[in-house]
Structure formats: C-alpha cells, structure tokens
C-alpha cells in the first residue's frame, strides 16, 4: 500500500511529541501517513506490558494516521545495517514522497541512532540491482523508490535549535496533538508531567516567536528548494 509519508521513530509517542500537530494537519488534508516505530517502547515504567501498544493505537487514531511496530528492543537501538535495510524495504513497499525521522539527538541513545538510520534507508531505497548484493535479498524483488524529501523534527529532550530549516504552524490542530499525547496516560500522567509541560512549552515558544500559537520545527536532509519565496508565511518583524 502507498502512503504519502513515512514517519520513522524510535518509540511510540516520539512522532506524536515531535510532530503530532503536523500529522493532524496533513491528515486533515487527506494525506495518508504511516508511523513506523522501531520499538514498542517496552518496558515502560507505569504500565503492564502491552498497555502502551493500545495507547499508541489510540494516539494514531486521534491523529488520523496508521502505525506499524518493528519490534526492535527499546534502549538498544543502533545504526545497524539490518535495520537500514528493513527501513529501506518499508520505503520501497509504501512509496512515500516524504520521510520523517527524529533529528540529531544526544540525550536518549535510541534517538541518537535515528538520523543515520533514516538517511541510509532513504539512500538505499533508491538503488537497484539488489539481487547482486549478498545480504540485500529482501530488497531484490522491489522496485527502487526515490523519496522526495527527508525531514527531521526536533526531539523535545534536546536543547533548542537556534537554527532550523522551517517551522509548521500547528495552532489550529493543537488540541488534537494534546489529545494524542494524553492517550499515553501511563507515561505522562502517572510518571510525571514534566515531559508534557516541556513538550507544550516548546511548541508554544517556537510558535510565539513566529507570531502563531504553536509551531513544530524541522531540519532538512538537503537544502530547501522552492518555486517562489512567496510560499513562506509572514514573520512578526519581517
């Protein structure tokens, strides 16, 4: 099946916290998006095994996206060749125009592996001749697929980005983002609400800076190219 975008994350709730507003917005516009979680986020501290999966499904439903879990072990992610190929396989299967993956990160070691994985997956997905590569068999029966753009949302455990490629205004759909995060009630309500407060503070701060209520920020794998500078929304001081 085809999706307009693949969002590759280490854990359930990563995509929601980093770009839940953008997901809600694009979903409302009719785009089909697939969240790919490399792990199931287990073990998590305040819920029995399996609870988080139900929460993740609920969050996906709220945002209007679909979700897939690859089943790697939370806490142990690395930029491994097998995972690169697995992701490239998914890209070739689903034909996304856009891929999103957690931006450069240092705090959580799982997040630190993400930029390398998604960059490699996008690159490998466009290559042919996999039948001639030992170890590349899983890609051999698929057509190459060229992703148009790879973007990296900001991980909210990381320091602020003074420079980022662009922000997306998510003010109108922000309540949906709140609901999607609230679906993970065992993480955010029981454990502590420091994280939820931080998440919203960040979106509010970047939004206010650009004259809107809430915004989500992104870096880009390649420099941005536009048809015209008129695509950019006004900034409060030009």
């Amino acid at each position: 099946m085809s999706y307009d975008a693949l969002v590759i994350s280490a854990h359930p709730d990563d995509a929601e916290s980093q770009m839940g507003g953008t997901l809600a917005k694009l979903s409302d516009q009719g785009l089909h998006m697939l969240l790919v979680d490399l792990t199931d986020g287990e073990p998590t501290e305040f819920a029995d095994a399996g609870v988080r999966a139900h929460q993740a499904d609920e969050a996906a439903r709220i945002l209007g996206v679909e979700r897939l879990t690859l089943g790697l072990q939370d806490r142990f992610l690395a930029d491994a060749m097998g995972t690169r190929l697995q992701l490239a396989h998914l890209i070739r299967e689903h034909h996304p125009r856009w891929v999103y993956g957690t931006g450069e990160a240092y705090v959580h070691p799982d997040h630190a592996a993400m930029v390398g994985l998604t960059r490699a997956a996008v690159f490998l997905a466009r290559l042919g001749q996999w039948e001639r590569v030992q170890g590349g068999e899983q890609l051999a029966n698929q057509e190459p697929w060229i992703v148009e753009r790879l973007f990296f949302p900001h991980c909210k455990m990381e320091p602020p980005w003074s420079e980022f490629a662009f922000a997306v205004d998510v003010s109108e759909v922000y309540e949906r983002k709140r609901q999607a995060l609230a679906a993970y009630h065992s993480i955010f309500r029981v454990k502590d609400d420091r994280l939820l407060a931080l998440y919203e503070a960040e979106d509010h701060y970047y939004g206010r800076m650009l004259g809107v209520a809430h915004a989500e920020i992104y870096r880009s794998a390649a420099p941005l190219l536009v048809e015209t500078p008129a695509v950019f929304r006004p900034a409060p001081h030009g």
Copy 2:
C-alpha cells in the same frame, strides 16, 4: 505606488547578479518589483559617467522591474541613521510584502553595510509616532508598514554558503538573467569576464546540487514558517 517587493542593493547590477533569475520569474508571475540602488555605481572603470545608468535601466527592462537610485556615493556606504530612515520611508511609501537586501558580506565594504541597513529599515518602517521623534520627520506623515519577510540573496563575491535558508529554481528564466547582466557590457565585457563566469558558475553549482540547472540562494531575517512541508521541491537524494 505599491510594489510587491523592494530589492535594496548597494550598486546597479547587484540585484541582477544575486537574484536576477528570481526577479525574472516573479515578474513573469505578475508581481511588481522595485530595485532600489543606494548608489549609481559611479565611477566605473570602463565607461563614461552616466553610461552605467542607461545599462541599469536596460537591465531592469529586461527583468520586468522598475528601478530607483538614491544617489549615495559608491565606495562610501555605511550603516548610517539617515540611510536607515530613507529606506524606511521608501518602504512606507511602497508597501512591499517582501524586502530583499544583500546578505552578509565582507569583501566589498559597501556590501558589508547592507544587512544592517535593511534590517533597521524594515524595523523602523513598522513603528508609529514619528512626529514625536526629532530627526524622524520624514516618516511622520506616513502610515506604519509591516513587511512580511526580509530575505538576503547571496553576494557572489563572497565564499559559498554551506547553509542557506532556501534556493529558488531559476532554470527556465536563466537566459533572461544572462541578458540582464550582459546589459552591463562596460563592466563585464571590457573589464574582465571573470565576474560573469563566477556568477553563472555559482548559480549552476547550487542548481546542480539540487537537481536543476540554475538556482539562486537566500538567507532569511527570521526563521521560515510554512503551512505545510509540501511546499518544498524534491531534492536528488531526498
């Protein structure tokens, strides 16, 4: 009279070399643009006084834009309060949604003054109450004007930008840019053609990097804000 964009430059031919393709493209789309040259570019080495003004008019005609010269002395530009106010006055007079001014520059001292001047002019133009400011009289009888975006094209005498906000694909109108630059035949043909070769090499290089024939690159005074990441054109490797 109103213009969609004001392009503020130190010398005639700056706007053409930095963003002549974008000008041709926007002009074809029906936008009205005014080039504001702080100086007339005199003295120039291989032409009599006044020749360059005719060349500048011809270049503007080719690009479909209008042109105004403020008459400051070439070689002596500085980020002076009077010039800031003069530019703010022009902005309030012409109501541009966008202002463009030469990006951060070190080689030519005239260019080095440009970012400070245009940033200040955009800021001052949005303020009211000038009748209460001694020295601000020229702005007192104008309404405040809020510019939506201030962008900075790359000066081609400067080192490359490894990071820039966005590029504009100007492949289809590139011949028009060549013609506009060729209008300055006393500068580029007589003196030496090193500059023309450098100008096109840069546009070609950034274009090729992004999968098109020619592109012009920009920085932005404020972070970019978009409605959706779908506004960005594909990049060769995502």
Copy 3:
C-alpha cells in the same frame, strides 16, 4: 554610590523582560542593582509622553532595584564613542562587580548596538590616564574600576539560543517578574499581548528544559571560571 550590578539596556522594560527574575532574586538576596536605560522608550504607541517613565519606576520598585535614564533617543541608538564614555563614567561612579547588557541582537536596531557599547564601556572603565586623552575628560577625575564579569541576557525578540553560557532558575520569583512586566500596561495590555505571551513562553521553555518552572539565559563576555563544578545545579538527564 556603589551598586553590586549595573544593568544597561536600550529601553525601559528590556531589563525586566530579559532578566526580571534574576533581578528579583538578587534583590531578595540583598544586592543593590541599578538599571541604566539608554532611552526613555518614547514615543510609545499607547500612552501619552511620560506615562512610560512612571511605569518604569513602578517596575523597578516591584523588582527592588533603582533606575536611571540617560535620555538618548529611542530608535536611534548606535555604538557611539560618546555613549561608550558615558557608560564607562557610570561604571567608575558606581563600582559594580557585575555588568549586564542585552546580548547579541539583530531584530531591533537599538538592541543591535548594545553588545558593542557595554563591552567597550567595561574596557574603558578599567583604564587610567584619561587626563591625557582629548575627549576623555569626563573620566579623568575618577579612579579606574575593574568589572568582574560582563553577562548578556537573551533578548526575547531574537531567535532561541541553542548555546548559552548558563541559565538562572527564577521559578520562585516568577510572579514578581510578571508583576514588573504588567506595570507596563500601556505596552503589553493595550497594544497586544503577543509580547507578554512570548516572554513567558521563553522563560518557561528554557526552565522546563532544565527541570525547573522558569529560567533566564545568559551569554558571557569571557569564558566562565569556577572554583568547582559543584556550583552547577542538576539537569534532568545529567
């Protein structure tokens, strides 16, 4: 008279928005601080002339600091020699251990002049022999004064700082900061509350990032030197 710290700003309300929490906190600890406003912030859009001065006095009273206005023209600040000397004179008069001045800024041209002014003032204040310098007479009858540290708070109109020297936890006194800003009711209530919302969003965001409710961030003129790394408060993830 001696002060422990001088806080040099372009306009009344700059010190409050940038470091009002730090001011309240240090004032509670018994430090004496003098706010030096280079301009009186006039004209301001929603108040008669003179109203802002009363507001500024009220804000200073709330924060427990004193205030002085130099009477330069708002909107026209520049890094001028005369202003450098005027500030150096104030430093020699008041013997502050610390000087604070608005950090690197681009949006408001008045703010853009501040780092150069405060750096130069701190440097000139420590020099002797002014009686031998034509134009330096106002410093001739004062003893040199060596400032221990020059710090730069973040201007809230500017993009975020991904790197800064340190943050100060101002959670406990934040209500005082709110009150001090509220004293400027003609600016923040009438005109629009976008600014107030942005100010608090920033303090909240940097605070949450570091595990507290509100924080104010600073850069430093010179690298930081400490007796022991134990002076630093914990961070949520180390």
Copy 4:
C-alpha cells in the same frame, strides 16, 4: 560503595592529563572519586606488561582517588552496547552525583568512542524495569540512579576549544597534577616529553587567559543552571 564522582576514561593517564588538577582539588575537599579506565593502556611502548598498572595506582594515590580497570582492549574501543551497560551498572553501583568522560575527540579512535559511551551509560542508569529487557539482566537487580551532571574534560591531543562550558582554576594544586603525570615515567620520560610539554602548555594557556596560573576546561552534556551568576570567578577583562 558510593562515590561522589565517576571519571570514565579510555586509558590510565587520560583522567590525569585532562582533569588531574580538578581531581586533586576535589579530593582535598573530601570528595570520593573513582577513576574507571576502560582499558589498562597496554601494550605501551617503553615498559613491560603490568608496569603501567603500577604507575596508574601511584598516580591515583597522589591525586587521592581510587581506580578501577575494566579490561577492554586498548586501541579497540567502540561505542558498544555491552560497554554502555557495563558503565551503567557501575553508575548504579556507585551512585555518583557527577560523571566525567573524555570530551568530543577525533585523534585517538579510543577517545572518539567516549562521549557516546558515557552519555548512553548515564541515560540507561536512570531507567527501571531492566528485568523485562533481554540482555539487560546485569542492571535488573540494581535501583535506578539519576546522575546530576555529566561533564566532558578536554582531551589534550585535540585542537583547542574556542568555546567551552567552564574552566576550573587548578593553580594551587598544579604541582600534584605534575606529580601524578610523572608517575607514568615510562610513557612520558622515555618515549618523548612532547606530550607532557603539551599538557602543561594547555593548562597554562587557558589559565593565563582567565587570569590564573593553570586551568582545566570542560564541556557539559546539558546547559548549565545556577542559583546565581555570583558563582563565577572574575575574568581579567570582565
């Protein structure tokens, strides 16, 4: 047993050269510190096997710290999952408030692995539920431990840091650092004394820059947070 700080290094003599002055100072203040060497630094060129271990013990004794060797192979360090867990286990065992690990490094491949290892170890040490993670058994019987701060001293084989988080004045204890390094006489005296000269040159240079005789510099995993800016020592020019 509990330690106030764990200092994680690739080789014996890394901790001494990078932060030996800080160790001596903190030890004099009564703090208990454990040096964790990932390798025993063998083979070393001018001593028989085992000699270096004795030197390392002597250096630790001089600095007033304890020392532990994990027995990985010098020259072959990598940011491996097993080593991350081994270090997390040590952190949970010893409850340090502070962890130190060699800062970003490129010259020696063993050093290049250190930032990733220490960041991951600090993160993993704070997580619970390891009994539910296959491969995480060694952490299952320990309580989670939250490290307050992770700092990175500068590796002296690397280019200078123009930006660092803070420096520690180690002038008064510098002779102790010299003695600790001299304990490694087979490395520094026989082989060549270029390294020792470089080590002291660096400490002297950063010290002089900040107005003291010797200083050691650090980066920080998270932005610094302080109670008050008064914790910082004076700089020569503010």
Copy 5:
C-alpha cells in the same frame, strides 16, 4: 613498495571526482600514488559485473596512479575495527607521507564511514607492540609508520563547504580529470549526466571564486602548519 600518497575511497570514481585534478597534477610532478578502493563499486546499474573494474583501471592509467581494491561490499561500508586494521596495514606497507580520505559526508552511507576509518587507520599505523594485541596480528610484523598529513577532499554529493582548509588549482590538468571520469562511461553516460555536470560545476565554482578555472577543495585532519605565509597563491580580492 612505497607510495608518496594513499587515497582511500569507498568506490572507484570517488577519488577521481573528488580529487582527480590533484592526482593528475601530483602524478605529473613524479609522485607515486595508490588509490585504495574499499569496494569495487558493484553492482552498478548500467554495466555487467566486472566492467567497472576495467573502467577504474583505465581512469587510474589516465591519471598516472595505481589502484587497489579491498573487496568490501558496496552499500554496506561501516567504520569497523577490521577495516581500520586492514587500512593501517596498507599504510605500514606503503609508507605514504600523505593519506587522503573522503571528507565528512552524510548523503551516501558508505561515504559517511570514511572519515572515521581513515582517521583511525592513520592513528593505528603509528603504534608499535601489535604482537601484544590479540586481533592485531596482521600489524605485528610491520614497522610503525607515521603519516605526515591526512587530508579530506570534498564529496560532490554533499552541500558546499563554506569553510575548507585549502584549495588546489587544477586548471591546467582539468582535461585529464574529465577524461578519467569519462572512463566510467557506464555510470556517467548511460545513467544520467547530472553527476558529471555537478562535478564540473563544483570545481569550476570554487576555482572561479579563487580566480582560477578549476579548483579542488580539502579539509585537514590537523591544523595547517607552514614555514611561511608566502606559500599561498593570491586571491582575487586579497
């Protein structure tokens, strides 16, 4: 056998596109250079297996260099310990004064592994006592070798470098570089000529910027040291 320089690349044609002009120039000066390709670049899309090897030999002949292939799998390169040792072994075997390896890269995952590999190989090659290291046997019978300089040419799939250590003027030998690249006719002619156009655009752009026709740019593993600043060629504006 001894070589003056080793050029370590992921694929055949990497060395040619990144620094083919420098190779031609140095070869003309009588230097002996060995290209070390980690992979054979197979599978490639528009040629049968083995064709590319012939092309690579032809390109080497044109540039006057020799060539060696290590036989790792294209698309699967990583910064692995075994490859580090294999490269260190080659360095000890061939005694190069200079080593070159693809500079920091993100687009192609094979390229992303190169800086780590070459840095480590150069470091490990200078160490002795390998007979005492389990797993280091292949280096045990070789003398240590100290490489004078490690340089990193710019990969042409990457964004421009606004800062680089130095450029080499390759204008006079540029036709040879074109011929060497043309030897890979199955890659560049059949597939698409976007790459060839990009390669030349880059060399032309950096050249023009420095006043020559074509230049190749480099970063350096260590800061540059010169006998005199007179070694640098003039720049158009100083």
Copy 6:
C-alpha cells in the same frame, strides 16, 4: 618605497605580540616589512609620554622591520571612512604583496575596529577613478594596487581559536620575539607580567599542538589556494 608586507595594528606592541615571530622570520629571509600603528599607544600607564615611541622603535629594530605611526587616538579607534582611505593610500604607496591586520576581536574596542578597516582598505586600494569621487582625492594620484593576500593574526587578549587558517612555526626565532616584547619594559615589566606570560603561553600551546616549540596562528580574508598540498608541514598525528 615598496614593502613586501604591511602590518596594520591599533597600537605599538600589537604586531609584536601577535606575529613577532613571523616578522623576525620573514625579515631574516630578506623581506621588507612596514608596521603601521594607527595610534601611538598613549597614554600608557607606567611611562611618560613619548617613552613608548622609543620602545616601539627598538622593537622594530630587533625584528628587522620599519614602523610608521598614523597618530589616531588610542582608545577611540573606529571603522571610519577617513581611516579606510588613509590605509588604502598607504597600500597604494607601498605596494605590499601581503597585508596583515589584527583578527576578529571583541575585548579591546580598538581591536574590534581592525578587521573592517583592513578589509576595506585592501578593497579600496585596488579601485581606480578616484578623481571622480568626492572625498577620495588622496587616492586620485596613485595607481591602483592589488594586494595578494590579507591575513589576520590572533589577538592574544581574545579566546583561543579552535579553527584557524594556518600556523607559522616560529620556534627558531622565538628569542627575537621575546626581546622585541621586552623592549616595551614599561608595559610588561612594571605594570604586570600577566600579559607577557599569556603571550608566550599561547605561542607555546599552539606550537606544541603542532609538534614545534612555538607557533603563531592566522585567519585569512579569502580561502587558501595552493599549488600543492606538499607545502604543509607534518602534524604529530597526521
């Protein structure tokens, strides 16, 4: 008269401390160099008026260079148009292949003006037609002069440069540099020797890092261009 190099500084002793070793070395090679001090460094704290001028002459004699003072007021330097023209005039008069001027600096306000002044002077010196520019008369009777390279030595009051263009090995002539600095005995001996200690610490540190006893470091106005990478001296770890 012609000089091979002009070294433009704010104060006597700036050139000596920043690049005295390079001056001694180039002078020994037969190059003719002129030090241009914008001010006479008066008033200075521990000497009567005029003493410093004698010291400066003595230092120049020791280094084998000539010296000229422009007579601007110490402490009041700015990047003024008149000074730009005065320096351009000197460049056109003395035909230097190389110009040196203090690198980017923030601590001393006089130093902060230097990069702008020297960049502008080099640019203006190459222009013709000054007889047609009101205010440019002093350049009208001189031929244009194109400087080959503009380099910026590091000011020793500033933080270290982690990145610089190149270092010059000055080990063999370092005693001459010490003597030249010692000529300013009223500054360095009486006042305090912190500065002298800092100066030598810096040269020693950068030298040691590159495997020599003392080195002086430089930035460059334009990217470096070389005939061959063989011009660079070895680094300790490649």
